[in-house]
Amino acid sequence: MRSAQHAPVAGGVIPTPARGTIDVDAALGVLPRGPAVDGSVSTLLEHMDRLGIETAYVSHTHAWHHDPYQGNTVLHSLCQSSRFIPVPTMHPDDLVGRGQDSEDGHLEAQLFRLCPRSHGYALTEVRAEGLMRRVEAVGAAVIVALDETSWSDLADLSRRFPALTIIVGHLGYRELRRARHFLHAYPRGYITTSNLSSNQGLELMAREFPDRVLFGTGYPLRDPHESVGLLGWSSLAPETQSAVARENVRRILGLMGAEDGQCGPDHLSTPRTQPSLAEEGTAPGRGWG
């Protein structure tokens, strides 16, 4: 680390989001192929403090790159701060007694991470059905990076488990039209801002689906400044920014403290049948070409 004095980000360079921002897509732990981050609790908290993020849903990279059970155990031991909400990583072959169930057999979390490609399975495999059925049954949600699966598998999963909430992150810059189709077709599909790097993709998606875009940094794989800058410099109306920054995730995952009193998983979310790009000063059709 260089010794140069750090110009404080919150001091007027990157506009930080409003207070109470919730990061739905973060992790603790180091990465085997970079970036070179220490993955510690203190570093993540330091990022959150600087960037105005109040709460983070966190997984652990050990559960992604090593062993889900061991990683989930480490995760729970590290999530002592009330600012962290643990997101266990699930594996279809580890349904019982491997850190994902409590003793009475109920799933303990509201959000579970899936890493199908890294863990050698597909969301559409028969062996994943039991896992998905149980997550769906308890009204929990799953989060998956797009490069761990495919749109066709996500579509298949959505069709077979229509009550399952599926959050997709790390979209990259080539997927905007496919993401739009996914959100149109599947009312319980959501996307995060982590690596949502299509030009002004945030505005296009959040104007059309204001209740379906969630703030997520993708840390540590992604630089956490990215999503903060994306939202902070956005042209979205304040209420849409607020929805992306925190209200949507509170509603979906039932995080206590939702200002509108609508805590608890939202089973009423419905897709918009007509694009609404005319909102907030955007000309109809502009942007989709």
Binding site: Q5, A7, V13, N199, L202, W288
Partner: protein, 271 residues
């Protein structure tokens, strides 16, 4: 004041790029405090360089001092002519080449005259780079840096891949005419800190690759890097100004100068 040395415009064949017109680009620049963007159109790099360079000129005209162009030299489409045609055109800051896309090595014969003309017209050359590429990997960059020491070569994406950042920084250390540019999906604020530590802030320039990539992603990474105010000023602005000043020895960049003179210092303008 922030100057972005790597941008594009117009549609791209492989995927949808929304809001890639001049008006949309200048709108997002204004929102983020970017005073000037140097760009080439996707038409110029992906298909027809001559037609695309004409499109680029149109973008610059619409930008009213906030956009400058790169003329694309495609090795298969009269590359020298593309540069000579734009050498005295004040709408063009430099030359853009994309060896990977055009499947031709950066050090190849067809680019030789391009570099010679860029030297003559004081045009920086922005080249796409990709670590491990036979066309624009680090060995190729070293060859042209050595062969054309008078040409400022902007190393687009600085190799793009995490595994290659060190190798490209080492090349920049060895060749004073190489400038490391900061766009790319694997770029990270910690890498930017490493670059500045390795080669010095005077050898690193900001580029976003907008609208291929959302400007804000690249900008936030760069502004989030732990740099001193002087280092940040160099990376985000003053190094680019030196390239513009040198180009202004050949062409009249009054419109751009007026635009930039309306901007105040980097820290004041940053949102």
């Amino acid at each position: 004041m922030i100057i972005d040395l790597h941008g594009h415009g117009g549609p791209y064949p492989e995927f949808h790029i929304p809001m890639s017109d001049a008006r949309s680009l200048t709108e997002i620049m204004r929102r983020c405090g970017v005073a000037l963007l140097a760009l080439s159109t996707h038409q110029a790099i992906a298909c027809d360089a001559a037609a695309g360079n004409e499109d680029t000129a149109g973008f610059v005209d619409q930008g009213q001092g906030s956009l400058l162009g790169y003329c694309v030299a495609n090795p298969w489409q009269a590359p020298a002519q593309a540069v000579s045609q734009r050498g005295e055109d004040a709408r063009f800051l430099g030359v853009k080449i994309h060896p990977d896309l055009h499947k031709y090595p950066l050090s190849g014969r067809r680019y030789r005259e391009v570099f010679m003309l860029a030297d003559e017209f004081h045009m920086p050359v922005l080249t796409h780079t990709w670590f491990g590429s036979e066309f624009d990997g680090v060995e190729q960059v070293r060859l042209v840096a050595e062969a054309f020491p008078g040409v400022a070569i902007i190393v687009g994406h600085s190799g793009a891949l995490r595994a290659g950042f060190d190798a490209f920084a080492a090349a920049a250390s060895d060749h004073p005419n190489l400038l490391l540019e900061l766009s790319g999906s694997q770029m990270h604020s910690t890498v930017i800190e490493d670059f500045v530590g390795e080669v010095g802030a005077d050898r690193v320039v900001f580029g976003s690759d907008v609208p291929f990539i959302d400007l804000r992603m690249s900008l936030a990474r760069a502004l989030g890097a732990r740099l001193s105010d002087d280092e940040r000023e160099a990376v985000m602005c003053s190094n680019a100004l030196q390239l513009i000043d040198r180009r202004a020895e050949v062409v009249d960049l009054r419109l751009v100068s007026e635009q930039l003179s309306n901007e105040t210092s980097f820290m004041e303008v940053a949102p």
